[in-house]
Structure formats: structure tokens, C-alpha cells
């Protein structure tokens, strides 16, 4: 089995729905250590991405993720716009004109996306950001690829969830939460939370198709 373009499109639909469902929770998390807009911004961005992806036919991953990237960058702004935009852009560039890919290779493309995020945000693992959910998820996806797609995605989601929860005791070193210093301890990072959602959507799309 492999990860297909159809699954990627379905994953975007699922991500939009999950963000919509949890936008107040994400905004609550952001109120505690940021500026109370992560749920609102992601909701606005994903709505527009899905409007865009439903309005045309895609031949490959490259086209789909490029549209996702340009849309979120042009409607969201803030930090989430450029960071998720760069993630989708680099992911799409790496996948190029493929429309189906082995999960192990999809993990490599996700790694490209993450490298773009870390370079733009000057962030590393342990800074209490989205990186803390995505990095372990990609590692788990890659390491478990030989166990079958379902097992690999389950491992990735479990690792993302673990990474997200691990942000709670961290001191934020990037983004607005970093202004709080030690007062950021005890709060879960909203970016890591939305990134965890994204991996659950990849898994669910993969399982259903």
C-alpha cells in the first residue's frame, strides 16, 4: 500500500473539519501563552484551502500542496501562515509530480517540510513549538513503515500526541510564548496541538481509502 493523492486531499478535508471542531480549544491554549488567535487563524486558513482544493482537479501532490501553501500564506498571516505554508510548500516540492508514494518516502518529504519550518522559525526540538509534535511523528512513521501503513501511521500519531503533551513542561523559546519565560511552563503548545491534529488526519485518510 502507499499514500495516494486521494488520501492527501481527504486529509486536508479532515484537517479542516478537525480544526473547525477544535478552534475554541486551540484559541484557549493560545490565550494562556500566546495571543489567542491560533484556532481562529487556522480555521480561516483551512476553510480557504478546502474551498480551493474542491474547486479543481489535481494531477499530483506537488500541485495540491502548492495550492495549500499559497492559500494559507495569503489568508492567514501571523506565524501560522508562513510556518504551515512553508511546511506544505516544501512537502509539495519534494513529492513533485507523484500521485502515489510509499509511506517511507512520504516520511522523507514530510522531513523536508519540517526542515523548512525549522529554518524559517529558527526553531529546534524542545523549543515548545509545532516541531515538537512533527519531528517525533516523522521519525515514528519512517521507523515503522515496514510494519505496514496502518501500523506506521498509528505509531506516527502516537508519537505526535506524545510530543504534543511533552510541550507542557517545556519553557517556550520561540514565538510569543517565549516572552513568558518560566510562566510558559504547564501549558500545552497550540502549534504542536494543531500539528498533532494534522497527523491524525493523515492517518484517518490513509485508513479509510
Amino acid at each position: 500500500m502507499a499514500f495516494t493523492l486521494g488520501m492527501a486531499i481527504a486529509a486536508m478535508d479532515k484537517f479542516n473539519a478537525l480544526i473547525e471542531e477544535n478552534k475554541e480549544y486551540l484559541t484557549d491554549l493560545d490565550s494562556a501563552i500566546g495571543d489567542a488567535d491560533h484556532g481562529i487563524n487556522m480555521n480561516r486558513g483551512m476553510k480557504r484551502i478546502v474551498e480551493k482544493t474542491h474547486s479543481k482537479e489535481y494531477a499530483d501532490f506537488g500541485g495540491l500542496f502548492r495550492d495549500a501553501a499559497m492559500t494559507i500564506m495569503s489568508v492567514v498571516g501571523g506565524s501560522a501562515g508562513p510556518l504551515y505554508g512553508t511546511f506544505f510548500m516544501k512537502l509539495g516540492q519534494k513529492l513533485g509530480c507523484a500521485n502515489e508514494i510509499q509511506v517511507e518516502n512520504f516520511a522523507d518529504a514530510l522531513r523536508e517540510g519540517l526542515s523548512g519550518v525549522m529554518s524559517l522559525g529558527k526553531s529546534a526540538v524542545g523549543d515548545k513549538t509545532m516541531v515538537d509534535a512533527i519531528d517525533p511523528a516523522i521519525k515514528a512513521l519512517k521507523e515503522n513503515a515496514s510494519e505496514g501503513d496502518a501500523a506506521a501511521w498509528n505509531a506516527a500519531v502516537a508519537a505526535a500526541e506524545h510530543g504534543m503533551k511533552d510541550t507542557v513542561p517545556m519553557i517556550a523559546r520561540r514565538g510569543r510564548a517565549s516572552y513568558l519565560g518560566e510562566r510558559s511552563i504547564g501549558h500545552q503548545d497550540p502549534g504542536a496541538t494543531s500539528s498533532y491534529y494534522l497527523f491524525t488526519c493523515f492517518r484517518d485518510a490513509s485508513a479509510e481509502n
Binding site: 488567535d37 495569503s74 498571516g77 519553557i171 520561540r174 516572552y179
Partner: protein
Amino acid sequence: MKKLINKVDDVVTESLAGMGAAHPDLIRVLPEYKTAVRASSPKPKVAVISGGGSGHEPMHGGFVGFGMLDAACAGEVFTSPTPEQMYEAAKATNGGKGIFFLVKNYTGDVMNFQMAADMLKGDGIDVEQVVVNDDVAVKDSTWTAGRRGVGGTVLIEKIIGAYAQAGASLAEVKALAGKLNANVRTMGMALTSCTVPAAGRPTFDLPADEIELGIGIHGEPGRERAKQKTSAEVVEYMAGAVVGDLPFKAGDEVLAFVNGMGGTPLIELYVVYNDLKKYLDGHGIKIARNLVGNYITSLDMQGCSITLLKLDSETKALWDYPVKTPALRWGR
């Protein structure tokens, strides 16, 4: 939530439209790009462009006009505008002498302006920027996103705008902006939180008898919480932090800026200014110029910030240079 709005989603666009309708002689609003540009055509001068999240009015749109900004891009409330907006603002105001971006040091603003600068450079347009980071409440280290850009932004926009209006080159504008940023310090405090329209409730809880010291301009919590203090005590704390940081010394001439966060009446801001004047007199620091009022706000937050900028004869003259914008105007 009680606010004078129509639909939450329309607050930014309707407010911009209103500002454009109120000042057609000064600014023109490009609704598609949520950007205010000067009403007149671009001049052969460095175009000075700023932008940032909405909710800080009159900053930045209220500072577009003669002697100050050429364009201001508005993001959603407390959210950076997008690279596309900054790119279009630059295209609309480019006078052939280069583009200067005035950016406040927030992760989102810095990333979005960087992307816009890359797009413009791809078109062969010269772009330089200053990242304003004057907030002494934040520790500046590699372990944080760095100090925030707050009150000092308004003063830098005024002085840099005058310098570009007077014909300074892009390199000169960049050099002066760097010097100003190195000589300005700010600290803020809140009596209450603020309510982001889309969130519908206050960003943080602040008990009735407590204040938050060292806040930014987005309702993000500050450096520490304290029991309510008198104006003189608050000024002692904030001015002490500001003066000690640069440090400002006896004999220095400064521009003293007491800024309201949006919900504090002028009667209180003048009480604060009176205490600040006494404090600075006591330290032998001379207030050569001042500004008191709501210029860089945080929606409906009650509170204030204190900014000091060390002046010299050049920057004093540029502060006095004529300015004509919706929110600041003199000499013209």
C-alpha cells in the same frame, strides 16, 4: 462581549474603510489588500512601509501621510499581515528610491516581511528594513524570540518618515533607523485584559485589585503580576526599568512618550506624565519633546506604556519636521 461592531469577520475591513472615508485627503485604502497608502501619487523618495496586526489603532494606518508612512498593511486583529499585502503596498508606493520596511519584532511579522522582501528583491527592487525591539520587559537572549517592538515604533515611524520625506537615501534611512532603535526603550503595564472580537472574551484574567507589569500590545501576559499601585509607584517601576536598561544618564535629552493602551482616559495618562516628569527631573534627564495619548493600543485594554528615546539635534529636528497623517499632524 459588548463592542460597536457589525460582524466579527468584518471589523478590520470596515474600520479601514471608515478611516479611508474620514481622511480622503490623506489616505487611500486598497480594500483587497487591507492596506492604506497615501492619497497622492508616489514621489521619487524612499517609500516607508509598516504594518502589523490590527487592534493597535491608530497605528499603523493612522500614521500614513506626509512626513510619515507611505503605506501601512493591516492584518487580522493581533495577526501579522501577509507577504502579498506588503508586496502590493510596495508596488503601489515605490518611488524608485527603494523600499524601507519598519517591522515590529514579532515572529509572524518578521517572517511575513522577510518573504515580501524576497519577492520584491526578485523584481529588482531595493528593500531594507529595521526590526524594532524596544521592550525592556523581555529578556533578549537566543532563548527567546527577542524583545518585542512596542511604543518606540511610533517614534521611529515619525522620525524615519520625516527623514525619507526630506530626501534621505535608503542607506541613510536604514542607518538612522538602526540608531533610533538602539536609543529607544519602552515598558508597558495593564489594569485590565483586552477582548479580541473573534475570541469574544478577555484574553487573560486579571483580578480587580491586580495589575500586570511588562505587558506587550497583544494582551499577552507580562513580566509579573502585582497588587494595584499608585501612578507614582507604577512610574517608578516602569521608568526605572527603562532608564536603567539603556541606560539613560543625567544630562541626556529625551523624547518622553506616555501611551495609552486604548481603554485608559487622558486624565489618567496626564497623571502618569506628571509622575514621569518628576521622576526624570529627579534623575537629571531632560524631556526635550513629549507625546501623550493613545497611539499604539491594545484594543480596549486599560493601561499604559512609557517610552524614552534619547535625542540629538538631528533627531530633534526630524521630530519637529512637518507631519500630516490621520493621527499625528503639525507644522503643515
